[in-house]
C-alpha cells in the first residue's frame, strides 16, 4: 500500500452524530479506492475527548470495535472488544492483554465538524 495520496484533514460527519461515551463507525476511502473502517469514540470527560482507531479487532477478526464499551484502565482510555473483551488503548492502539495493536488516527472537531487526518 504505497499508493498513498496526499494526507489532509477530511470531514467525516457532524459532531452531533457522535454518541457520548460510545462509538460510531466511519468508512475512509482514498482516491485509489482503498477502504478502511475506523471507530470514533467520544469521551467528553477524558483528556482528548475524541479518538479514532481501526475498527478491525485483530483478535476476534471482525469489524466490531466501535460497538465495544469504552472507559479507562489505570487512567488509560480504552475500548473493550465486544467479542473477547481485550482492552485496546485509544491513545496508542496497543492491546493491554496481548501482543496486538490497532491503528490510531489523528482526529479533531473543527466548527462542529468531525475531521480525520488521512
Amino acid at each position: 500500500m504505497t499508493t498513498t495520496t496526499n494526507k489532509t484533514w477530511r470531514t467525516i460527519c457532524d459532531s452531533s452524530d457522535l454518541v457520548k461515551d460510545s462509538g460510531i463507525c466511519a468508512l475512509l476511502a482514498d482516491e485509489a479506492g482503498n477502504e478502511e473502517q475506523i471507530a470514533i469514540f467520544h469521551l467528553p470527560n477524558s483528556e482528548e475527548k475524541i479518538y479514532a482507531v481501526g475498527n478491525y479487532d485483530p483478535i476476534g477478526k471482525a469489524n466490531v470495535l466501535y460497538r465495544g464499551i469504552v472507559g479507562c484502565i489505570a487512567d488509560e482510555p480504552v475500548v473493550a472488544s465486544p467479542l473477547y473483551k481485550q482492552h485496546f488503548s485509544l491513545k496508542t492502539g496497543r492491546c493491554l492483554q496481548e501482543e496486538q495493536s490497532i491503528a490510531v488516527y489523528e482526529i479533531r472537531i473543527e466548527n462542529e465538524q468531525v475531521q480525520v487526518f488521512y
Partner: protein, 862 residues
C-alpha cells in the same frame, strides 16, 4: 526394571468396606505412594455421603451423593471391587476371600465395615414393605414402597428415626413414629427437651407414640399391616421402617477370632489396631474404650490415625498418632425443628448443676449443665433455637471459664448476654469437627496465602463435611483477615469500591438514576466494560427504564445495545419470544418467511425456541419490524434476564400430567420477561414427577404434584450442572407465584455480578434454610417490599424492539457507517447443509484490512 521391582515390593493394603470412613482412609493412605491399596466393597457403588442420605428424597441423585468415582480411584492408583463382600480372613496366610471366592493377600488389613440397622425380633418383621434406612438401595426400596402405600410407621424415635420419618412424610405418606422409651431422642436430649420436640413434630403432622413396644406385626384391616402394642392398642400401616439403633458389622472379627466387645464392636487400641497388629478397624465397626462412635467425624479421625500409623508418620518428637476419643455433640434440623445436644446433656456428671429456660409459646427449650463450681460448661440441650450452639460448644470443648451468671448464655433477653468472640477461642479450638480443623489450621491457611473464605475452605476442607460449622469458619476467617488489615475485597472493578449488591443499595437508597451520577458520587475514572453493564442492570432493576434511553445507551454490552447476540463475525442473532415453546402454525410460517427473505441460518434451540442467525446490524430493524407486525416480541436472548420457561404439555395432553404445566409456564414467562438480573435466568415446568421438562436443572424449577406444585431453586445446566434444591412443596398457584416473585427479587438485589442462582444460593450464608426463612417466614421483614418491586417491574414491561422501532434516534445506531450506506465487506457467508454459515478466513474474498504495522509503514512512506 526398577519400577517393576518397586511395584512388586510395594506393601499391600486391603480395605474392607467403602463407606465414608473407609473412603477417607483411602484418600489419606493414597498420599503415600509406597503402598498398593485394594478396596473391597459389599455395596454396588463406591463411597457416598451417608450423612446427607435423606437429600436423596429432596432430589439429589446417587451421583450427587457420591464421594468418589472409579476414575478418581484409578487416578490415585487404587484397585477396587464393588459387590465384593468379604467372608473370610486368614490371619496366618494374610489373605481375605470374598463371596465370589476371590482371594486377596494383604500386609495390612483395614476393617471399615461400618454398621447395620438393628431390627428388633418382632414376629412379622421380614415381610415386604418392612424396610430399613441406611443405604441408597434402602432408599430406592422405600420410594418404591411409598408409591403403593398411604400410611407409614417408623419404629424408633431416635435421631435417625426422626430423619426417616421426615423422609416418608415428604414422600406423601401419613406418618407415625413409634418409640419404646417415654421420650424422643433419649440419647441426645433430656425429658424436657423431648416433650417439646414431640409437640413440635406433631404440629407438623407426624403422630408420635411414645412408651409403646410392638408385640407383633399382623395383617391389617384398612392397611396392609397392623402393629399390635403391648398395651393392647393397635396402629394400621402400609409401610414399616425400622430405625431402632445400629449394630457394628463385626461378624468377620467374631468368626475369625479378633477381640470383640461384650455388646459387639471390634476392640481397637489408640492406633486403631485390633488384637492382631496387622489388622486395623476404623469407623462404626470399631470399639474404642468400650465405646462405638456413631458419627462420621470420629471415624475420619480414626482413618487418619490408622493411615499415619501404617505409613510410620510420627509427630515432631517421634510420638505416634493416637485416637483419643471424640466429642459427640450434634446440631441438626429435624423436620424444620432445630435440635442441639452438647456433651453431658443429661447432667450425669457428679455434682453438676443445670439451668433451664423454656418458652412454650415460641417452642423453645434450652438447658445448660455446668460443673459444681459453676466454672465450666459440661453439656447443653437446645430445642427450637440452636443459635447459641457454636458458642456453647466452644465453651465446653475449650473449657473456657464461664461468666459470673452462666444462665445469661441461654436467656434471650439477658442485657449483657456474653458473646464469645472468635478472638477468645484458643488456636487449638476445633472449628470443623468433621475434618478436625482447628482455629490454628485456619490461621495457617491464611498464612499460606488464602485471601478469602472460599480459599480457606478449599485449603483446609473446613465446612465440607456436615456443613454445620460454615458460619463459624467464616467468622474465624473474617476475623483473621480483619486483624491483618486485609479488607475482604468485593470491589467490582477499579472504578467502584463496591460489590454489585452494595451498588444496588446505593442506587435505590440515594435514588440515583444515571451512571454519571453514580460515578461522580461513588466512583472514579471513566468506568469500564465491567462496571457499566452492572450499573445498567442495577438501574434497570430499580427503575425499569427503557434500556436504550440516552443516558443508559453507552453502558450496555453490545448485545443489549443492538438487542441481539453478537456472533463471532460481528453479525447478530434474532430470537423472538415463544412463551413456553407454544407457537401457532401461522407464526411458525412467519419465522420461516422472514428467515428466507433475509437469508438467515435457522436453528431450534434447547430452550424451545427458534434462533435466526447472521443478521447484519442494518438488517435488525426491518427484520424485527416484520416479526413485531406478526405479533412476536423480543425474546431477551441478549440480556442478563429471563430467557425461557421450558415446559411439557402437562395435563392438557399428557396421560400422566397432574397439573396444567403449559398454562403455568406461559403465565410465568409473561410475568418475568424483561426482568434484569445478575445473570440469565431459566425456568422449567413439568406436569408430573416424570420431569420431562428437566425443571430441576433450571434456576427456578416447578414440578406438578397431585396437590399443587413443588418449587426447586438454584438448578443449573451448563459448565457446572447442579440439581435445584427443593424449596417448598404442594404450593397453590398464588403462593407459587408469590414465592417466585420474592426469590427472584431477592436474587436481583443481592446476587453478585454474573452470579447464577446456583452459585448465589451456595454462597448465601445459611444456604437454603436461610433463603426459606427470608422468603416464607419473612425473617428480614422485606417480603412486602420485594413483592412491590416485582409488581412495579411486571407492570412497566415494554418490548424493547417495539420501543426501538418507534424511535428514529435509536434507529440511527443500526446504520453501519456514519458517512456511507455501504455494508461491512468483511462479513461473508458460505453455504453448508443448505444454509449460510460465516466464511472462514481462508474462504473469504480479499478485503483490505489495514493493521497497525502496515499503517506505520504507510505513514513512513508518506
Amino acid at each position: 526394571m526398577n519400577t517393576d521391582k518397586q511395584l512388586l515390593s510395594k506393601a499391600k493394603i486391603v480395605v474392607v468396606g467403602n463407606g465414608m470412613v473407609g473412603h477417607h482412609f483411602v484418600e489419606e493412605m493414597a498420599k503415600n505412594s509406597d503402598y498398593q491399596i485394594t478396596v473391597l466393597s459389599a455395596e454396588s457403588r463406591l463411597a457416598y455421603d451417608r450423612v446427607h442420605l435423606s437429600e436423596y428424597f429432596g432430589g439429589k441423585t446417587a451421583e450427587d451423593l457420591a464421594m468418589t468415582t472409579p476414575e478418581h480411584y484409578d487416578e490415585l492408583g487404587v484397585t477396587f471391587k464393588t459387590n465384593a463382600k468379604v467372608t473370610k480372613i486368614d490371619k496366618v496366610a494374610k489373605c481375605v476371600t470374598t463371596e465370589s471366592g476371590a482371594t486377596y493377600h494383604y500386609d495390612k488389613l483395614i476393617l471399615a465395615t461400618g454398621s447395620y440397622p438393628f431390627v428388633p425380633p418382632i414376629p412379622g418383621k421380614d415381610q415386604d414393605h418392612c424396610l430399613v434406612y441406611r443405604t441408597i438401595d434402602d432408599l430406592e426400596d422405600i420410594a418404591n414402597s411409598a408409591k403403593v402405600s398411604k400410611v407409614g410407621v417408623v419404629i424408633g424415635g431416635g435421631l435417625l428415626g426422626l430423619e426417616a420419618a421426615n423422609a416418608i412424610k415428604q414422600l406423601g405418606l401419613q406418618t407415625h413414629v413409634v418409640e419404646f422409651a417415654p421420650q424422643l431422642m433419649g440419647v441426645q436430649i433430656d425429658g424436657g427437651g423431648g416433650r417439646l420436640l414431640k409437640s413440635k413434630i406433631e404440629e407438623l403432622g407426624v403422630q408420635v407414640h411414645t412408651s409403646k413396644a410392638t408385640n407383633v406385626i399382623e395383617k391389617g384391616d384398612k392397611c396392609r399391616y397392623k402393629l399390635c402394642f403391648n398395651d393392647g392398642s393397635e396402629l394400621e400401616t402400609d409401610l414399616i421402617l425400622f430405625s431402632a439403633g445400629i449394630r457394628p458389622y463385626d461378624n468377620l472379627a467374631r468368626e475369625f477370632d479378633l477381640a470383640i466387645g461384650e455388646r459387639g464392636g471390634i476392640v481397637v487400641n489408640n492406633q486403631c489396631q485390633t488384637s492382631d497388629v496387622d489388622i486395623y478397624a476404623i469407623g462404626e465397626c470399631a470399639l474404642w474404650n468400650n465405646f462405638i462412635f456413631g458419627l462420621v467425624a470420629p471415624g475420619y479421625a480414626m482413618a487418619k490415625v490408622a493411615a499415619k500409623h501404617i505409613g510410620g508418620v510420627t509427630g515432631t518428637n517421634g510420638e505416634l498418632a493416637e485416637f483419643t476419643g471424640a466429642d459427640m455433640s450434634t446440631k441438626l434440623k429435624l423436620m424444620g425443628v432445630e435440635v442441639g445436644s452438647i456433651g453431658d446433656a443429661h447432667g450425669k456428671t457428679e455434682g453438676s448443676l443445670t439451668y433451664t429456660y423454656e418458652n412454650q409459646p415460641e417452642g423453645v427449650y434450652k438447658k445448660i449443665v455446668v460443673s459444681a463450681d459453676k466454672k465450666t460448661l459440661l453439656g447443653a440441650v437446645l430445642i427450637g433455637d440452636t443459635s447459641d450452639y457454636d458458642t456453647l460448644l466452644q465453651y465446653m470443648l475449650n473449657a473456657i471459664e464461664l461468666p459470673e451468671a452462666p444462665e445469661g448464655l441461654i436467656l434471650p433477653m439477658a442485657a449483657d448476654k456474653p458473646t464469645l468472640g472468635v478472638d477468645a477461642l484458643p488456636d487449638t479450638a476445633t472449628i470443623c469437627s468433621c475434618h478436625n480443623v482447628t482455629k490454628g489450621d485456619i490461621i495457617a491457611a491464611i498464612d499460606c496465602g488464602a485471601v478469602d473464605v472460599g480459599q480457606v475452605k478449599s485449603g483446609t476442607k473446613a465446612g465440607s463435611g456436615c456443613g454445620g460449622c460454615a458460619a463459624l469458619v467464616k467468622s474465624v476467617a473474617d476475623n483473621e483477615f480483619e486483624k491483618r488489615g486485609l479488607v475482604v475485597k468485593k470491589d467490582i472493578c477499579e472504578h467502584f469500591a463496591y460489590s454489585r449488591r452494595e451498588l444496588f443499595d446505593i442506587v435505590s437508597v440515594e435514588k440515583i438514576k444515571t451512571f454519571d451520577e453514580l460515578l461522580s458520587s461513588h466512583g472514579r475514572g471513566l468506568g469500564c466494560e465491567i462496571c457499566k453493564p452492572v450499573a445498567a442492570s442495577v438501574l434497570a432493576s430499580v427503575w425499569n427504564d427503557y434500556i436504550l434511553k440516552k443516558p443508559h445507551l453507552s453502558l450496555q454490552d453490545t448485545n443489549d445495545t443492538y438487542l441481539g447476540n453478537m456472533q463471532k463475525d460481528g453479525t447478530y442473532s434474532v430470537v423472538p419470544r415463544i412463551a413456553g415453546g407454544e407457537i401457532t402454525p401461522d407464526k411458525l410460517i412467519v419465522l420461516g418467511q422472514v428467515a428466507k427473505k433475509y437469508n438467515l441460518y435457522t436453528k431450534i434451540t434447547g430452550g424451545a425456541r427458534v434462533d435466526l442467525f447472521g443478521a447484519r446490524v442494518e438488517q435488525l430493524p426491518p427484520i424485527w419490524k416484520e416479526l413485531i407486525d406478526a405479533g412476536f416480541e423480543t425474546g431477551h436472548a441478549y440480556g442478563k434476564s429471563l430467557r425461557t420457561v421450558k415446559s411439557c404439555v402437562g395435563s392438557t395432553w399428557c396421560r400422566y400430567g397432574v397439573q396444567d404445566s403449559m398454562s403455568m409456564a406461559i403465565d410465568l414467562e409473561h410475568r418475568y420477561k424483561g426482568l434484569r438480573a445478575p445473570h440469565k435466568i431459566k425456568f422449567g415446568v413439568s406436569g408430573c414427577t416424570r420431569e420431562c421438562a428437566e425443571a430441576q436443572g433450571k434456576d427456578i424449577g416447578i414440578i406438578a404434584t397431585e396437590n399443587g406444585w413443588n418449587l426447586f431453586v438454584g438448578g443449573n445446566g451448563g459448565m457446572k450442572p447442579r440439581h435445584g434444591d427443593l424449596f417448598a412443596t404442594d404450593l397453590d398457584d398464588e403462593t407459587l407465584v408469590k414465592y417466585i416473585d420474592r426469590i427472584l427479587m431477592f436474587y436481583v438485589q443481592t446476587g453478585d455480578r454474573l452470579q447464577r442462582t446456583s452459585v448465589w444460593l451456595e454462597n448465601l450464608a445459611g444456604g437454603l434454610a436461610y433463603l426459606q426463612d427470608v422468603i416464607m417466614k419473612d425473617s428480614l421483614g422485606i417480603t412486602d417490599a420485594l413483592e412491590e418491586q416485582m409488581a412495579t417491574i411486571v407492570g412497566s414491561y415494554q418490548c424493547e424492539w417495539k420501543t426501538t422501532l418507534a424511535d428514529p434516534e435509536a434507529l440511527k445506531r443500526f446504520q453501519p457507517f456514519v458517512n456511507s450506506d455501504k455494508g461491512d465487506s468483511n462479513i461473508q457467508f458460505v453455504t453448508e447443509r443448505e444454509q449460510i454459515r460465516p466464511a472462514r478466513d481462508e474462504e473469504k474474498i480479499a478485503v483490505t484490512i489495514i493493521d497497525a504495522t502496515e499503517k506505520e509503514a504507510v505513514a513512513e512512506d508518506a
